[in-house]
Symmetry: C2
Subunit: 135 residues, 2 copies
DNA sequence: CATCCCCCCTCCGGCCGCTGGAGGGTCAAG
DNA sequence: CTTGACCCTCCAGCGGCCGGAGGGGGGATG
């Protein structure tokens, strides 16, 4: 099938499919006219990658996952290691976001949000330790 | 003060300070020899930006925040709007990560993680709807 | 046969926020 | 006068695409 069809069926943009080929992730055959010819297996790979990307795996991870999937002699431990590394990233990022939220939300709440210039948000950003010092 | 001092005092890398100048965020004066000369006010701006970046604000947001901070006639509503937009981003990203976690964690848990090839993670990525279909 | 239009191709540049490195100038100390 | 730390500019690259220029392929229509 042509790239447009593969894109539609995988839910990925055409540009992304070309990019995946460029970086050696999923390389379809070619028709005589130079058009990419995605096989059912290629489409399966695309969907696999689309889902892995949806879980936040990097393209490098996706490459590794595709390789493991292809390899009947794989150890599930290798797959699990990738998944756990990804989970660790997710948790690290979640913690970062929690910290941001914890710092920003009270400032936003304290801000009147009217026409006056007084603003706890700007104050908070201007001197992070001032709140403690003023206590 | 020279860029190295400003970097040390702001906690930002030297390269970042040069970058901030390049994109018109914080432009220090220059000594006769071409060296950047950061004033106390520049340093204050740097620290402000460093904190805003720490909360995940984009450089564009930082530019806007600096502008508001500089402007005595500002409305706190404008600052609050930026903060709330940022909070919305944080929450959106948090939700995404939660979804990823919710999808990935059970797969990882179900995976034996041994030398055998059987792997629920690969299965899950290979056919997201299979679990429902098999129920 | 020519025209239309959609799809496909390659290649280049840009996005964000830096980071690394090449290649060179400046300055204080020994 | 040399050393070494610091500073300068400019260019390239990271990840993961996206937009667009400029051109070819292919089927329907006149």
């Amino acid at each position: 099938m042509n790239i447009g069809t593969a894109a539609a069926l995988s839910g990925l943009p055409v540009k992304t499919l070309r990019y995946y080929e460029e970086v050696g992730l999923i390389a379809p055959a070619r028709h005589g006219n130079g058009y990419r010819d995605y096989s059912a297996e290629d489409l399966d790979h695309l969907r696999f990658v689309a889902r892995a990307r949806g879980l936040g795996f990097s393209l490098d991870d996706c490459r590794a996952l595709l390789g493991l999937r292809r390899d009947p002699g794989r150890a599930s431990a290798d797959v699990k290691a990738l998944a756990q590394a990804r989970l660790a990233e997710i948790d690290a990022r979640r913690a970062e976001l929690e910290e941001m939220r914890a710092a920003l939300a009270p400032l936003a709440e304290a801000c009147a949000g009217d026409a006056r210039p007084d603003c706890p948000i700007l104050d908070g950003l201007g001197a992070a330790s001032a709140a403690r010092g003023a206590g």
